[in-house]
């Protein structure tokens, strides 16, 4: 019991003495009061959700308006109340590029662009959205998004940069459109190993660090930020240190073991002991060397302590060893947490994912930042958030269906041309502007320049570099994390040094099939070729002044190859390409 926890819990030391009993009692009674107040507040916040959640079935005669209409109606109320004017509707070209990037992580091809722009049918956007949902790149793009949420660009822990297993597993979840609650439960239960199954990799990041894991699990899946309560009671929320350590108790017995190698990758599995508790010694600043702590039992947030069966008489903890699948514990605390966290009536779960996925398409959460859904950080549109969460619960966490409603709303299809200058306005009166990820940029460059077309007959490499022909290390360094600490885009010198002086020339190939080769053919007038340039690279025809400017640039040369390269480079590096808008 002591050995397991002595190390990870450096400050709350070993439990024995009674010096903290009084403190704990005080904290516990204080907590009960705060918890009651918080529960009332939460019930108010949940509003409409609470009914169907509690009942577990769809309410008869409920509001049957499609969610997309609810979205438009609620945002519209906000515009009226706040006296802001919504932007005009996005053009077909704007919508095409935006939704393609948002759903599949890549810009449309020239052919797709022309076909969509020429399509006169009334349902062309609905058909476009379905086509994108059925594109294999949909699942890959969603997996990319969740890989970043779960790991970031610099995951802690040894070997966590080799995530093929969990990345494939994430793709599989989205390919099958598995309900979100089911796959998160599977992720948190972390069965199997990190290579053949995948999910255990999530915990590998925080091996022997249950406190760090507690911070991220609650923040990511529940939108609850407990990190303040790690060292002291939260300064303005109701979270107490004991809430933090109550959650940490679910993870304190986890142990990462190495169960062999496959395809050159270490397979990690997550074992769980049957004994061991978190030890708690009070506020961090009162820590003294040698101070003893009290064991804290696992406790659900805003809920009860975990009821645990007693260990059998004379239980002896089996050893967890490398190269052996870890034995199942007598009673898994982690699984209890996974089940509780993903239940439809969990007070946080549905709202957290509704808000997070909303932000992927609308730029900011209804609660923002998306992972801080605390009572002091109220939603901009409370009724809408209720409706979104309710929809997800009623539709068994069908994320694809949810995304379909979001991108089919008129609000999503507003122009990004706004008056505020903001990338993501609070009242969603114009569409957001977001930077393309490193993966989106590389692939979109290849599509836009015809690199992929020119290389399509070459045999595929066994494990192709996502960023080909660019170096993955550079792409991740310069484009991997283009935001500051609060998630806003931030330009950097290094990015532009790479764009100006780096490897982009290697994408602008001249082989048949490439844009350069197509544009170099003199059989079309320059006007038509400039149209092609814009349609292929920016998914829209040029404006008149743009056409004139580019024709003047290109037509002046006897051998325009160099100018063509420069024109393609300018379109690859300009803001209109850099952002999804």
């Amino acid at each position: 019991m002591k050995t397991l926890l002595a190390k990870p819990f450096r400050s709350p030391v070993v439990a024995r003495g009674g010096c903290l009993r009084a403190f704990l009692r005080r904290a516990a009674s204080g907590f009960a009061l705060m918890a009651m107040a918080f529960a009332i507040m939460l019930a108010m916040m949940l509003g409409v959700v609470a009914g169907p959640l509690a009942g577990g079935a769809r309410t008869a005669g409920a509001d049957e308006r499609p969610l997309r209409d609810v979205i438009d109606a609620e945002l519209s109320l906000g515009w009226q109340r706040e006296k802001v004017e919504p932007a005009a509707a996005a053009t077909d070209a704007e919508f095409l590029r935006r939704v393609s990037l948002d759903l599949t992580g890549v810009v449309p091809t020239y052919d797709e662009t022309v076909a969509h722009l020429n399509d006169q049918a009334a349902d062309k956007r609905a058909r476009l959205i379905e086509r994108l949902f059925n594109d294999p790149r949909f699942a890959r793009h969603q997996a990319d998004l969740w890989d970043l949420i779960l790991f970031g660009r610099h995951p802690p822990g040894y070997d966590t940069d080799k995530r093929d297993g969990i990345q494939r597993w994430l793709r599989d979840q989205f390919t099958a459109n598995r309900p979100y609650d089911q796959w998160v439960r599977e992720l948190l239960r972390a069965e199997g190993n990190s290579v053949e199954q995948g999910p255990p990799m999530y915990y590998v990041q925080y091996r022997n660090q249950p406190e760090d894991l507690t911070e991220v699990v609650t923040q990511t899946f529940l939108g609850v930020q407990l990190q303040c309560a790690r060292c002291h009671d939260h300064p303005f929320e109701s979270w107490k240190q004991l809430d933090f350590y109550g959650v940490a108790g679910f993870f304190a017995r986890l142990q990462v073991v190495d169960v062999g190698k496959k395809d050159g990758l270490t397979m990690f599995a997550v074992g769980e002991k049957s004994t061991g508790d978190v030890l708690f010694t009070g506020p961090a600043k009162e820590q003294m060397p040698g101070k003893k702590g009290e064991p804290v039992k696992p406790k659900f947030l805003l809920g009860e302590a975990l009821a645990e069966p007693a260990l059998p008489e004379g239980f002896k903890e089996p050893k967890l060893e490398n190269n052996k699948p870890p034995p199942a514990p007598q009673f898994s605390r982690k699984d209890q947490f996974a089940d509780w966290a993903t239940r439809p009536d969990n007070p946080f779960f549905a709202r957290a994912v509704a808000n997070r996925v909303w932000a992927q398409y609308f730029g900011r959460g209804l609660v923002h930042p998306v992972d801080n859904m605390s009572p002091s950080n109220v939603p901009s549109h409370p009724a809408l958030l209720d409706a979104l969460a309710k929809w997800l619960v009623e539709h068994q966490f069908d994320l694809k269906g949810y995304m379909r409603e979001l991108v089919s709303s008129r609000s999503y299809a507003l122009s990004s041309r706004g008056k505020t200058g903001e990338a993501s306005p609070l009242w969603f009166q114009h569409a957001r502007t977001r930077p393309l990820s490193a993966e989106e940029l590389a692939e979109s460059w290849r599509v836009a320049t015809g690199y992929d077309d020119a290389n399509k007959d070459k045999p595929a490499e066994k494990k192709p570099n996502r960023f080909r022909p660019l170096t993955d290390g550079y792409m991740l360094r310069f484009f991997g994390q283009p935001t500051n600490g609060v998630g806003d885009f931030q330009g950097g010198l290094a990015e532009h040094l790479f764009l100006n002086n780096g490897q982009l020339g290697s994408v602008i190939v001249s082989a048949p099939g490439s844009l350069l080769a197509t544009l170099a053919k003199p059989d079309q007038p320059w006007e038509a070729r400039v149209d092609r340039l814009f349609l292929q690279m920016l998914n829209r025809p040029p404006e008149t002044d743009e056409r004139d400017r580019f024709v003047a640039l290109l037509a002046a040369e006897k051998d325009p190859a160099e100018r063509l390269r420069d024109a393609i480079w300018a379109l690859m590096t300009c803001s209109e390409f850099r952002f999804n808008h």
């Binding site: 802690p156 822990g157 990041q205 760090d212 911070e215 923040q219 930020q225 990190q227 600043k285 923002h368 930042p369 801080n372 950080n377 109220v378 901009s380 990004s416 041309r417 706004g418 008056k419 505020t420 200058g421 903001e422 609070l426 502007t433 930077p435 994390q481 283009p482 935001t483 500051n484 600490g485 609060v486 806003d488 885009f489 931030q490 330009g491 950097g492 010198l493 290094a494 990015e495 532009h496 040094l497 790479f498 100006n500 002086n501 404006e543 002044d545 743009e546 580019f550 640039l553 420069d566 024109a567 480079w569 300018a570 590096t573 300009c574 803001s575 209109e576 850099r578 952002f579 808008h581």
Partner: protein, 423 residues
């Protein structure tokens, strides 16, 4: 009603953009409303134009072979102390040039830090924080760039010459990444254009045509920022001359000493003179687990020569009063000498030094015990060290930045400024 609950990160982003909007936006200047306290602070600090050069002793220089001798003690080692130009302060005989500059610097002989190995120590002595899983702390260079840097300059605001530590801009973002010069003075990959200037200009003009249209139509903050960083990358082309020390080197060789580290220090001086607010200059490697004395005999003389030359040069150019020179490694070394004549890692009691920018010259702050095993008085933690540095640079060490919703002060919560060191 709800704006008061959503506005904090709005304001911080606007603060960041303020300079850009004013310089680059032309017709699209927006009404930025009330500015936060942080904006006012950043503007005020910039007016004072303080700069910082961090001489980083990678591997961990020995306090016993530099600035905290223990002559005659079992831990004292092979070298003898010599007198300095400050009565009562002795330094190692390997440091004759710095012995004559001791009236310019303040020595802290009571460092006590909390990361005893290199990666953690390097992180700690660049950020003021221990590494943790869930927060990416920014380096001191990023912080000085943010609070003392200027928009629209030709040179980057955060430069490392043979720098160490990979924390970079941390959660402050890519705008505050270091511009990293190699040990031999090479510019980073991709920083130079090989394109013929006339062609580059044509290419630039057509790109600028597109960007101007986009910015004009969208009035977009992020596009403005994108354009500004593109412009900065382009301006850098005009500034390559600042990195070329070769022409000047003959003239300064004697002052800085004919060494690679000396050359790096001269470059650092040129850069701060050109207005760069933060330059790190590294020397490697002091990790003398074996043959400690031979290593120090090789490393200290060129280092101390360059250090002394740098102080002299800064004084002669009138830069000393506005330029803080930090001397530190990531760890100190053990008092006991191991069986390979080496000294191992030690952070319970070690030594750093500061100079310029209002630091009291001639001062020795704190003390180790007679064998150097422990701090005898006035311990200085990493947090105190960085708080003092930020204070000297007119940056309030309690200033907070957000990572997610968590406010993080520049120096760790509870750090104290060692006011005795500052005039």
């Amino acid at each position: 009603m709800s704006t008061l609950l959503h506005s904090s990160e709005h304001l911080s982003r606007r603060a960041l953009l303020k300079g850009i909007v004013a310089t680059a936006a032309g017709g699209v200047v927006m009404n930025w409303g009330a500015l936060t306290h942080l904006d006012a602070l950043a503007d005020e600090v910039k007016k004072r134009g303080k700069r910082c050069i961090y001489l980083f002793m990678n591997g961990g220089a020995s306090q016993f072979e530099t600035l905290d001798m223990k002559p005659g003690r079992p831990t004292g080692g092979l070298f003898r102390p010599i007198a300095s130009n400050v009565a009562g302060t002795q330094v190692c005989e390997l440091m004759p040039k710095m012995a004559r500059q001791m009236d310019q610097i303040a020595v802290i002989r009571s460092m006590r830090t909390s990361e005893v190995d290199h990666p953690g120590g390097i992180y700690l002595m660049h950020t003021g924080y221990r590494p943790t899983a869930n927060v990416r702390f920014p380096e001191i260079g990023a912080i000085v760039a943010k609070y003392q840097g200027r928009e629209g300059t030709d040179l980057p605001n955060f430069i490392k010459i043979f720098g160490h530590g990979g924390a970079g801009g941390g959660f402050l973002g890519p705008k505050y990444l270091p511009f990293e010069i190699s040990p031999e003075g090479q510019l980073p990959t991709f920083s130079a254009s090989s394109m013929e200037p006339a062609r580059e200009l044509k290419r630039h003009e057509v790109r600028a045509f597109l960007e101007d249209r986009y910015v004009r139509e969208r009035q977009s903050e992020v596009a403005l920022m994108h354009r500004e960083s593109y412009e900065a990358a382009r301006r850098l082309q005009n500034a390559h001359q600042a990195f070329k020390v070769d022409q000047e080197w003959d003239k300064y060789k004697a002052l800085y000493g004919d060494s690679a580290f000396g050359k790096r220090c001269l470059l650092a001086r040129r850069l701060v003179e050109a207005g760069v607010p933060f330059v790190e200059v590294g020397q490697s490697s002091y990790d003398s687990h074996a043959d400690n004395f031979a290593w120090h005999k090789g490393l200290v003389p060129p280092m101390e020569h360059a250090w002394a030359g740098l102080l002299t040069d800064l004084k002669e150019r009138g830069l000393f009063d506005n330029t803080l020179v930090i001397w530190a490694g990531e760890i100190g070394r053990t008092p006991q000498i191991n069986n390979r004549a080496g000294r191992d890692h030690y952070v319970r009691s070690w030594t750093t030094a500061l100079a310029g920018c209002g630091v009291k010259g001639g001062m020795v702050y704190g003390a180790s015990d007679e064998d150097g095993y422990d701090v005898k008085d006035n311990p200085v933690t990493e947090g105190d060290f960085f708080a003092t540095i930020y204070q000297a640079l007119s940056i309030d060490p309690k200033t907070e930045n957000l990572t997610g919703v968590r406010p993080v002060p520049l120096a760790p919560f509870g750090s104290k400024v060692v006011t005795e060191l500052l005039s």
